[in-house]
Symmetry: C2
Subunit: 412 residues, 2 copies
Amino acid sequence: MRQCIERKRAGGELSADQWDGIITAFMEGGVDEAQMAALCMACVWRGMSFDEAFALTGAMVRSGATITFDPARGIVADKHSSGGVSDIVSLVAVPIAAACGARVAKLSGRALGHTGGTIDKLETIPGFNVALDLDRFAKQVERVGCAIASQTDALVPADKRIYRLRDRTATVPAMGLIAASIVSKKIAGGAHAFVFDVKTGAAAFMRDPKDALELAGWLVEIAKRFGRRATAFVTDMHQPLGRSIGTGIEVLEAREFLAGNADERTRELVLAISAAVVTACGIDNAPQRVREALESGRAAAKFREMIAAQDGDVAAFEALKLDEPLTVTAAHGGYVQAVDVVKLGYEGRRLSEHDPLGGLRVAARIGDRIEPGAPLLHAYGRDKKHATHLSSTFTITHAPCNVPPLVYETLT
Amino acid sequence: MRQCIERKRAGGELSADQWDGIITAFMEGGVDEAQMAALCMACVWRGMSFDEAFALTGAMVRSGATITFDPARGIVADKHSSGGVSDIVSLVAVPIAAACGARVAKLSGRALGHTGGTIDKLETIPGFNVALDLDRFAKQVERVGCAIASQTDALVPADKRIYRLRDRTATVPAMGLIAASIVSKKIAGGAHAFVFDVKTGAAAFMRDPKDALELAGWLVEIAKRFGRRATAFVTDMHQPLGRSIGTGIEVLEAREFLAGNADERTRELVLAISAAVVTACGIDNAPQRVREALESGRAAAKFREMIAAQDGDVAAFEALKLDEPLTVTAAHGGYVQAVDVVKLGYEGRRLSEHDPLGGLRVAARIGDRIEPGAPLLHAYGRDKKHATHLSSTFTITHAPCNVPPLVYETLT
């Protein structure tokens, strides 16, 4: 191991066998955390080749169980987001695509930092079971057409250990390590096609669109080298994507969305990503099918079917209702120049911590012209009274400003 | 800690308080080995400022006990070598300087890799106690004028842990970390003046003379900033320094040296380093005193006095005698161009492993003109029969070659 670290330290490349040996030894205890941390820092320093990232991805996949879907019975897709704020895309794109006949096996994560987690959101539906075992998960995909379950310890245990290690040793920012971490979990999840949503902007893991585009390229290429189909979107995170920030409050927005009451920006991205999932599953005419599934109510019905299949209480889901908000208003008029999305993300997590329907609804967007006293945010839940200070999260200036694009790039 | 790693990762400088906090937390468990390894790799990557190395040195000194010698009772000196092969300088320079009236408190290490360790050598003298407790060590320096003891766990425990960590995580080559490791142990040992011997060449920790000179500069400057006197020699390790390679066989060479039968190259360096130690202790006319101490037999007597003070059996020391050697000869004639010192170092360790008087005596030097069949090495001890393959450790060519200098540089 020391020689591998020395090689990487000197800017060299490790072979596939070396990456395999490192991951095996790390899981068996022959390589310790200090050695892995030093290697990760050397990877941050020297970078990794595409071959190395591919080799590491494979080695991590082999560290645990994998799910297999028989491709003869149809393509199975999975959708991944690099982490956003007010991002209900997974919640609604999965049932929309399934309503179009796609099969979607989605493994999701929990909230991390200021970004929300689909699993935390779904757990606010009474009874909803996110901890499906691999067999039940696969069977539900076959039967219902979709399932959303939490990443289990059985899949890619090496990634779990290495990710925690990288987090506390400040060795996260190495493109090859990031790509291997993301793709290994997707490969182990068994889907044949992936749609990646790589966020960029102040509140994204990849702030710079160039970095986000580079990561998107790695994700697509590594997935393809594993024989999978892949599409990646680079999308905006300079402001919250949708209207709601929290857990249950985002499930409520998903319900409203599927009922036809959609935030326009979210709708644009959901339609694009849903169509990419449907296309990846080999179904033609996807954009039109997606709109029909949404407008006909079939997507809304599929969401309820998925909730029921995962032991969720559909009646309780229907009854979800927000309390009276505390409204945060603009101290002065002007144009919304910027939004502190990170702060809003953390505040959404705080408000939903003790109240599943606590959270924020965003009433102003970048580029909006605001009158003095106009609403910026509505805060909900039992801790909402502390939200008044949030008016400072909006930067309001006299000059009009450009609105960042929603989709920067699409890669296939 | 993560922020400190991030700062170093970005090429920033950590404050003295941060280094202090890191070492304290590392010793108390708040910073784990993975985090320390990542930080060390970031230091290899980004380097460390002199201020950082000084701060780290101080933080490490404070991780354990320290020895104090009252300067009012005279300057106490210590001598350090960065690790060589066939290097008896410490064994003889310490009693020579003490015989001149200097007080020498030498803390030594064990063999590491291909390099020998003064402690391992002294332990071949029956009864010799290298594990002096701090009090006995200090008292012996006052009474006898010199003591050589092994670095104890009580002094600089942080260095011990960090050094092991760096060794297995390939994070050794950072000038600031190396200098802090060396100087912290010297500072904790309590001496007021240090003489450093930084080796350079193929078998040295610092192969490149420029690196060795840079390290020598750091050692001297850090020591001075702690208010200590310091001198550093940059000396050659392209070939074994003296005649013998092993443990007891080097003690025997030391006995012969003090009896006036000295290898010329070793003698030149011993005289220079002994004089530097004597000068550092505030004694004038050091070069002449050193020669007189050696030639009068007072240095030899002082060595025996030190052996006796440390429970060593002086009669057994006097009786040390080599067995009949196996002689390794040159297959063809020519000039000795190079010597594989690393291989010889390992072979010396192997031969002395089960036989304290096992080892090698070197019969040819770089630049020597050799006849075919002339002796290159003599191997001693019960495992000597496997030494015949060592003739290949000498590169013999037809053209004469330059002899590397013995002392490259002296810094004060």
